[in-house]
Symmetry: C2
Subunit: 351 residues, 2 copies
């Protein structure tokens, strides 16, 4: 076990970069003042930062999964514009006392998720630059770059009344995982799998929270979408953003969400049971309904699975990887079976 | 005075982005999942992060200058590749209790420095994306993008024996400013200017540390340089990097540095005097020599002014904005008047 303070910056960088992949677009990679890459088409760029104690805690810390999560949330933002990822810039700040093996696991997690996106989309996604510094708190700031070729980028603002609303991937699972973590269910799936008390389905939800795996390839089926967004802050919030940007109303069919809700019921029952301490002989119906409500709220308001939502008027049946969950109409806001849904999900700074 | 926690994320973003500029290359700016921009030529990209307590402290905190510094250190890395800046992605994490006016000053500082680079180089440099989150520590992670057109990017590896070594801008001033700050000289120039005890020259050095202003335009005179680097970690270290990457020896002439050293002598004398408590009647010659040594060490080993060093065999007299400071020779390493100079400057993680 070697700590970073025993290695020095240049050796730490060497160890980390040994996990990197290259790409044919890279003219000058990490090691100079800046990277130089050959870009084909318009450039797509996005940046996201994960900060310890705000976005994760040491109690849940699995370095490799943290890398997966950091990469996934940036790559999904690039892909959902209809773009192919081009490369990542990775800035890391970690404590001096960090083990080099942990930092390598973090970086390798980033590289692996970028490679997965590249395999799904037929492109290479190397880490082309970044920064490394020491800090009391762990901070991971990633910029993901991508390119859009012949067709224009897909924005939030093109949805039309009459368009169907489609979902790829899952929603609600990461939010369920977060509530399980907050309730003290152990975040380390390896430990959890050895604990017969814990249902495997619960540990899988935690894994979705800690290391989401967006269905990047699904975007390829939606290149002609009128609008598309990454569900990072919750279906209600993110669909609300599309509705606001496009000047339409987004009507969700509750029935279309049922097979996203059902797999979350064991976790919801686990939490409702443990919080309420409901006796089996009394109030079982009440607890079941409460669990159903909790599962629905995860699906409606939970982000971080990085499912994708798109609108299109072009399909009779949803393309592979997508399900129809509603329709855009004249108006504003979001509704569930006609009942308005609040669109203010997670917000930094309290409101 | 309004704190971020009273405003909520969307209003905070609105306030910040009111300070942003746009650019004709921007197809989709901040507000969607990712930005889309039109790139002309190959892409140049670099990322740097400033972390509170590692790169600055609250005691020195001037939000606007912090923005200047964060932008300058990224923009200089793009420019020194021979590229024109294209845009910035800015990820900020600040405490909930931060005043909105302070966060606006930070962002406006970034925007102003990007605009200054754009004016010097004839391009527009908007903030095209980023991220905002709350955190116990202030973190500023910036990615700077640029483009290189007809000519290839300038790297660290093209220096040839016989090339002259040139410097643009200053070196040593930010390091002197840092030592003054560590010695308790107040970092706020406004306060300092009202304090007759403090020489204006000292406060200017502190300003260089807190808000360096690289001479971006100088790069335009060095487009045919064989190698170029931003002096961020110190002349010895960064010239050492060029020497290592190019497989040459970099010989510095001490005499060429004298008019960089001289303006630092008052600060060096101030610090040597306050540290040593030297009596005027004894050891004055010793203190003077110690001050000269300190000033030389700032010039040789201090980074963060973001001066630029380049090598070229093409000029009889240095181009405007540049001075000749030595020559590349066969060999390796760096020397000052023939005496080897250590090339291991600032390093994170202790070594």
């Amino acid at each position: 076990m070697t700590r970073l303070s025993e290695l020095g910056e240049s050796h730490v960088l060497e160890r980390i970069l040994s996990h990197n992949r290259s790409g044919s677009q890279v003219i000058i990679g990490p090691g100079d003042d800046a990277a130089v890459t050959a870009v084909d088409g318009n450039l797509v760029s996005t940046a996201d930062m994960l900060v310890e104690n705000e976005d994760f805690t040491r109690a849940w810390l699995d370095w490799s999964r943290l890398g997966t999560k950091a990469a996934a949330q940036n790559l999904s933002d690039v892909c959902v514009m209809g773009a192919k990822p081009h490369g990542l810039l990775v800035s890391l700040a970690v404590p001096d006392s960090t083990k080099i093996e942990d930092l390598e696991a973090l970086f390798a997690g980033i590289v692996a998720e970028a490679a997965r996106a590249g395999e799904e989309l037929g492109c290479e996604v190397p880490v082309i630059g970044g920064d490394l510094s020491s800090s009391g708190l762990i901070v991971i700031a990633i910029t993901a770059l991508g390119t859009v070729g012949d067709h224009a980028a897909i924005t939030r603002s093109g949805a039309q009344p009459g368009d169907s609303i489609y979902l790829a991937g899952t929603i609600g699972r990461a939010a369920a995982g977060l509530d399980l973590l907050f309730a003290g269910v152990d975040g380390d799936a390896e430990v959890a799998r050895n604990d017969p008390q814990l249902d495997e389905s619960l540990t899988e939800l935690i894994t979705t929270q800690l290391a989401p795996q967006p269905d990047y390839a699904a975007v390829l089926q939606m290149r002609e979408a009128s609008a598309m967004i990454d569900v990072s802050d919750g279906l209600s919030t993110d669909l609300g953003r599309v509705a606001a940007a496009s000047g339409v109303h987004a009507g969700i069919d509750r029935a279309s969400l049922q097979d996203l809700i059902d797999p979350l019921l064991p976790a919801a029952q686990h939490l409702v049971g443990s919080i309420e301490g409901v006796e089996p002989d009394e109030g079982t119906a009440g607890a079941a309904s409460e669990a159903e409500e909790l599962a629905l709220s995860w699906v409606l308001n939970g982000g971080e699975d990085h499912g994708f939502v798109a609108s299109s008027g072009q399909f009779d049946t949803p393309p592979v990887g997508w399900r129809r969950i509603g329709e855009m109409r004249v108006g504003s806001g979001v509704s569930l079976d006609g009942v308005p849904v609040p669109t203010s999900g997670f917000s930094h700074f309290g409101k």
